[in-house]
Amino acid sequence: MSNSTTIYKIGGVFLLPFLWWLCADTFAFVSPLLLPNLTTVINRLYSLITTGTITQDLLATMYRWTIGFSLGVTTGTLVGLMLGVSNRLRSFFEFPFEFFRSMPITAIFPLFLIIFGIDDPSKIAMAFTPTFLLMVVNTSYGVLLTDPTRRKVAVVFGATQLQTFRKIIMMDALPQVFVGLRLALTQSLIVVVVSEMFIGTDFGLGQRVYDSYLTNSVSTLYALLIVLGIIGYIFNRLVLLAEAKFVFWAGK
C-alpha cells in the first residue's frame, strides 16, 4: 500500500461517520426519525452488546448462514466439477441451472416455508440455494476454462486422468471457485436476513431489524445495520485473505 493512498483509505473509514455526526448531532439538519444522533446509535449498539440482547440474534443468524453456506459450497463445488468435466451432464443441466439462477431467489421462500416449515431448516435452505447455484456455475466455468496447454503437458508427461484432474484441472479452476465463493457469501447473507423477517422467527438479526421498524426504534435499526455491515465486511475480508493465500498466482 502506498503512502499516498493510505490517507484516503483512512479518510474513507472516518468521513461518513463524521458527516453523520455533523448532520445529525451538531446541526440537526435531518429529522431524528430518519437519522438519529450518531452518539445515540453508538450508545444503543453498546447496550445491545453489553446487555447480551443481540447475542442470541447474532448466533441464530450466523448458525443459519454458516450451515447453509458451507453445505452450498461443498455440494456446489462438487457438482460444478462434475458438470465441468462432462459435456453431457453440462448440456443436460444447463437449462435448469440457468433457470433457477435467473430466478429472484427470495421469491422461493414461501415455498420453502411450506416444504421445510417455519423453523431453521427453511432459512438454511435459503442460504444454501444461491450458494449452491453460484458455486456450480462458477466451478464448472473454471473447469471449462482450464488451459488446454497445461492439460497437454500433463498428458505428454504420462499423467493419469485422475492426476490430470487433481493436479491441473482443479488447480486451474480454483481462481474461478473463489469468484463463486465471494459472490455466494454476500448473496447468502442477504437471503438469510430477508427470510428472518418473515413470521415464525424468534431470534435472528433480520427479525430484530424488522421488529425495530415495527416499534419505530430507529436507533436500534441503525445499530443493527452497523452490525450486519461489519459481519459482511469481516467475512468478505476473510475470503479475500484466503484467496491471496490459495490462489496467489491468479491472473499472473
Binding site: T149, A154, V155, V156, F157, Q163, M171, V247
Partner: protein, 255 residues
C-alpha cells in the same frame, strides 16, 4: 534410429476431407539434432503431436519409439501456459517425476544430477510467473529433460522470445544436446535457426504436407552465433533457400 514411416492424417468435415499429412517419412538418428522447417500451417505441430503420442488418429508407423510412455520430453511454444503457476521453479521441473510418484529423495537426486549437467543459474524457489520468457522456457526444457527422454521434442520453443535471449537459448539447447547425447526433434519457424541447430533439416511442403528434402548440416560444434558468418554456413543457407522455394512452389507467398 527412430523412423517415421508413411505418416498420413486427414480431417473429415462436412466440406469434405482435408489431408494434413500425406505419407510423411523420415529418419531421426539417435543422439542427433533434427530440425523441421516448412511454410506456415504445414502441419508441423500435427506431426510432432503424433510423434509425442498426443494425437493417436493417424495412419502409418513410428518405429523405434514403441512403448515410450513417459519417455517423450516435450517443450511447448507457449511457455507461460505450459508452466504451472502454483508451483515453484523446482516443483515445475520435477512435475513429471511427481506424476511418476518418485520419492522426494529420488526427485532431489535427479534434479541435482540434471542441474550439474546444465550450465544454467536458476533460483529454484522462485515463482515461475516472475521469470523472464527466456528463463521460463529454460525451465520447460529442464522439465522435459528430467525424465531422461528418449526423444526431446521442441515445438517452435523460441518463437515468442526476444532475439537476444533466443541466441542464448539456442546455444544452451545445442550445447546440452551434444553433452547429454540427446535425440532432438526441433520445429523451427526460422530458417537460420534450423540450420544452426540441426544435424539435418527436414523441409516440409504446404498442405498436404510431404517431405520435400532432407538437408545434411555438417557444421562443426559448438554451434555459436558466430558460425552464421562462415562461408560454409552461407553456402548451406543458399541451398536451404532454394529448397524452401520448392516447398512453397505453386502457391502464392502471402503476407
Amino acid at each position: 534410429m527412430i523412423s517415421i514411416k508413411n505418416l498420413s492424417k486427414s480431417f473429415s468435415s462436412p466440406a469434405g476431407s482435408t489431408h494434413i499429412l500425406n505419407s510423411v517419412s523420415f529418419d531421426i538418428p539417435v543422439d542427433s539434432f533434427t530440425t523441421i522447417f516448412g511454410p506456415n500451417g504445414c502441419g508441423k505441430t500435427t506431426l510432432v503431436n503424433i510423434v509425442a503420442g498426443l494425437d493417436r488418429h493417424f495412419t502409418g508407423n513410428i518405429e523405434g519409439l514403441e512403448d515410450t510412455k513417459r519417455q517423450v520430453g516435450f517443450v511447448f511454444q507457449d511457455y507461460r501456459r505450459s508452466l504451472l503457476p502454483w508451483y515453484s521453479v523446482r516443483k515445475n521441473i520435477l512435475f513429471p517425476l511427481e506424476l511418476q510418484r518418485l520419492s522426494k529423495r529420488e526427485q532431489a537426486a535427479r534434479l541435482e544430477e540434471l542441474l550439474s549437467a546444465v550450465p544454467l543459474k536458476l533460483d529454484l524457489d522462485q515463482r515461475v510467473y516472475s521469470l523472464s520468457g527466456g528463463q521460463a522456457q529454460a525451465v520447460c526444457i529442464l522439465r522435459a529433460l528430467i525424465i531422461k527422454p528418449r526423444i526431446l521434442i521442441l515445438d517452435e520453443p523460441f518463437a515468442a522470445i526476444d532475439y537476444e535471449r533466443t541466441l542464448a537459448l539456442r546455444k544452451l539447447i545445442s550445447d546440452i544436446a551434444k553433452s547429454l547425447k540427446l535425440t532432438v526433434l526441433f520445429i523451427s519457424h526460422d530458417l537460420e535457426e534450423a540450420i544452426i541447430l540441426g544435424d539435418q533439416v527436414i523441409f516440409l511442403s504446404k498442405h498436404p504436407t510431404q517431405v520435400v528434402e532432407v538437408l545434411r548440416v555438417d557444421l562443426p560444434y559448438p554451434r555459436s552465433f558466430e558460425i552464421t558468418t562462415s562461408l560454409q554456413f552461407t553456402d548451406l543457407r543458399d541451398r536451404a533457400v532454394k529448397i524452401f522455394k520448392k516447398c512453397v512452389a505453386g502457391t502464392e507467398i502471402k503476407i
